[in-house]
Amino acid sequence: MSSSDLAGGIDEDLSLPKATVTKLVNEMLPDDISCAKETRDLLIDCCVEFIHLVSSEANEVCEKDSRKTIGPEHVITALQRLGFEDYIAEVRDSWDEHKESQKEREKRGKRMEKTGMTDEEMARAQEEMFAQARLRMQQSSQPNQ
C-alpha cells in the first residue's frame, strides 16, 4: 500500500498487485513455459491499459445513455465496440453470478436480523468469542500442566 493511498490522495502509480498477477500468470501458463519478471511487469502495464480502455469507452456509452453511473450494460456495449465481443458471454455469466451472490448476502443479512440482536449486541458477542479464543490460545501455548 502506498502512503498516498492511506492519505486519501490520488496515486498515479496505482497498479495491480504483483503477487496476484504472478499467481494468475502461473495458472494461465502451460506447464512447460515460464515467464520472465520483466514480462510480468509489462503484462501488468497492459492490464492497466485495458482497464482504462474499457472504462473510457464504457463512460462514453454511459453518457450517451444519459446516465450518471457506469453500469454493467455499458461495459458490455463497450466491449463490443472495442472488438472484444468474444468476451461478452463469459462477462455476462460473471454478472449473473454476482447477482446471485448479492441475493445470498441479502438473505444472510435478513437471517442475522432474525436473531433479534442489535449491531452493538452482535459486536459484543463477537468480542466475547474473540476473548475466549484468545484465552484458549494462551492456555495451549503454555502447557505447564
Binding site: 494468475l24 482504462h52 472504462s55 464504457a58
Partner: protein, 148 residues
Amino acid sequence: MQKKYRTKFPVARIKKIMQLDEDVGKVAQATPVLISKALELFMQALIDESVAQTRAAGGKRVHAGHMKQAILITDQFDFLRETVQDVEDAPVGAAASRGGGRSRKTAAAAAAAAGEDGSDEAAEEVAAAPATKKRALRRKKLAAEEAA
C-alpha cells in the same frame, strides 16, 4: 460456469484504477466485477499469443519481446502498440506471423508483421481499430492538459 482460476483480481483496486480517469464518475457496484472478468479473459489471450511467439522462437521462457510481437500482430491488442514501443525485440529467430487466431483483419495483420518500414503506414491505416483512435484521442487530450 467455469471457475478456471483460483486467483482473483482485487475488485476495489480495479475501481480505483478506473477512477484515475477524470471523466469517469460514479461506478455501479457490479461494474468492476465485469471488468475483472474481461481483464481475466484479456490476460489469458495475451499470454496465449505471447506463448505462441515463445514457442515459435524455440524458447521456454516468455520474454517481453515475445509479448511485444504478439501485440503487434493481433488486432485486438492495437491499443497496446504505444505501451510496447520501447520494448526490445526478442533475441532469437523469426517469430512466425499468425494470420488466423484473434486477428480480425487477417490480411492487414500479416502485412503489418511481415512488412518492412515502407508498408507499415499503409498497414496501420487499414488496421486502425477503433481502440487505436481512442488512444490517439486520449493522448491528444493529455497533451493539451499538460500544456495548459
